[in-house]
């Protein structure tokens, strides 16, 4: 592990109107490790990822990738830096108008200008890595089950061999067995590529399977950060209530006000 984090976030703030979603997020993710970010619905987990991806512009703070602040780079340099990130969206976000293989090869065709024949071969190879037959490449996203769509989305995220992988609720909407399959695929892919991964999830079993480290967002701030193995027993009242799904605790008290 090196001293420079792969991703360093400092003082990240974002408000939508008068609703403050991120209130000074500080987070480091070391190279070639997996960080799981947990937190209740609407606490800003997806906003955090979208800020790093450049899909949402934060109000304040810094986001460094390999020591370079992407918020202060010119647009082209920031795009190049972010082009090294692969993203698995919560609902897959597969392009309905393209067959599966073109979805998987989209980044190769757009970013690396790979010719279509080679891009298709690479797409079929990556589909194999996520446990799908090459023949699936000829299908349309609407013809796939939820679990297959997630696998295709994972294949699309890793096809260009990114340095950093983001996973937004990777197991939402899947049965526990398929959830475990997706988690194992994610762990395999991250290890094989040597990537740095950030996943956000509500699913505690998934968090423990994917993460080396974990952090919890509450009221727009990181309230706890530590090894994922300690997630269920970290001694932080907010984290304990969330991970054990208790009715009583600091989170519920705030809802009652």
């Amino acid at each position: 592990m090196t001293d420079t984090p792969k991703i360093r976030i400092r003082g990240l703030r974002k408000a939508f109107g008068d609703k403050l979603v991120l209130d000074g997020i500080d987070l480091d993710v070391a190279p070639r490790t997996s960080m799981v970010v947990i937190g209740g619905s609407g606490t800003g987990k997806s906003v955090l990822l979208k800020c790093v991806l450049g899909l949402i512009e934060p109000d304040a703070g810094s986001i460094e990738i390999d020591g370079q602040d992407v918020l202060r780079m010119d647009r082209r340099a920031a795009e190049q830096q972010r082009a090294r990130i692969g993203m698995l969206f919560q609902n897959g976000a597969l392009f309905d108008s393209l067959p599966v293989w073109e979805n998987v090869a989209f980044g190769l065709l757009a970013r690396h200008k790979t010719d279509r024949r080679h891009a298709r071969a690479r797409a079929e190879e990556v589909l194999g890595q996520v446990g799908l037959a090459a023949s699936v490449g000829a299908l349309w996203p609407s013809e796939l089950s939820g679990g297959m769509q997630k696998r295709v989305a994972l294949a699309r995220a890793i096809a260009a061999q990114p340095d950093i992988l983001f996973f937004d609720e990777p197991t939402t909407g899947l049965d526990p067995i398929m959830g475990a399959v997706i988690d194992n695929l994610i762990v395999d892919c991250v290890k094989r590529l040597g990537s740095t991964a950030v996943a956000i999830t509500h699913d505690m079993a998934s968090a423990r399977r994917i993460g080396d480290r974990a952090a919890m967002i509450h009221k727009g701030r990181i309230v706890w950060e530590g090894p994922a193995t300690e997630l269920m027993d970290c001694g932080n009242a907010v984290v304990d209530q969330f991970t054990h799904g208790r009715h009583q605790g600091p989170i519920q008290m705030e809802l009652r006000r």
Partner: protein
């Protein structure tokens, strides 16, 4: 007094909101068009948009044009007969079709068909994160999704209107000769002698503007839709209504520019 001030404030807010929206639409259109000269150019998508807007709208536009020409011939024959001016039927039909009804009706039909489809498609892509996914795959969504549609609208509608002009005049010709007893040769010669190049060209220029407006409103409303199925529905409605109103408003402005003496 307070009620009066509240009323003025509400009018001011609406006015400012309209100005803001107009500015956003203008910037969106400029951004979309500026990508035409910046590589990469998605030729396949441009062709797809052109076919979707032009070729697949052909049946509905053709039917509209034919029936409009037929009605126009019937109505004008009835009206002009009161002044013993039935010989002007051919002139009236060709002028009305080429200058006004061809481009306006084709624009409205394309707004209902292709504009609504654009808003629904882009709106669905927005609410299912597909547009964000494009950004994460090093693809500029404006260039990939909006620019081909703007180009498609701009180029397809003039061709559609050219076909509509011919079919509209043909519809009038059929009614005039079969039902009203006009001499076919005289009717055609009246039509061709009377129509001028600038009548047709002005209609085609209008068509290009209307095609751009339809694509712009369809893309803008879809691209900026929010809030799931309801948001996509609202975007689709807004796309059709705003494009239709803009077509009629710009029709007046362009007519004033071309023909006001």
């Amino acid at each position: 007094m307070n009620r009066l001030l509240d009323g003025v404030a509400a009018i001011g807010r609406t006015l400012l909101g309209t100005c803001r929206l107009t500015g956003r639409i203008a910037l969106f259109g400029l951004d979309g068009l500026s990508n035409v000269v910046r590589p990469p150019v998605y030729g396949r998508l441009c062709l797809h948009a052109f076919l979707d807007i032009g070729y697949y709208s052909l049946p509905v536009v053709a039917l509209t044009a034919v029936f409009t020409g037929m009605v126009l011939a019937l109505q004008s024959a009835t009206g002009l007969s009161r002044f013993n001016a039935e010989s002007a039927v051919a002139n009236l039909v060709v002028l009305s079709i080429t200058r006004e009804l061809g481009p306006v009706l084709a624009g409205l039909m394309v707004a209902g068909r292709a504009g609504a489809a654009m808003a629904a498609e882009l709106g669905t892509m927005r609410v299912t994160d597909q547009i964000d996914a494009l950004s994460t795959l090093s693809t500029n969504p404006m260039k990939y999704l909006v620019t081909p549609r703007l180009l498609g609208g701009l180029l397809a509608l003039p061709l559609l209107v050219l076909v509509a002009d011919i079919l509209g005049v043909l519809g009038g010709f059929v009614i005039a000769t079969v039902k009203l007893g006009f001499n076919a040769e005289v009717y055609l010669s009246n039509t061709l002698d009377f129509v001028r190049t600038d009548d047709v060209v002005s209609g085609l220029v209008k068509a290009a503007v209307f095609g751009f407006l339809v694509a712009l409103m369809g893309s803008f409303n879809g691209y900026n839709s929010r809030g799931g199925a309801q948001g996509v529905g609202a975007a689709t409605t807004n796309a059709v209504v705003s494009a239709s109103v803009l077509i009629l408003a710009f029709d007046y402005v362009l007519t004033e520019l071309f023909f006001a003496r």
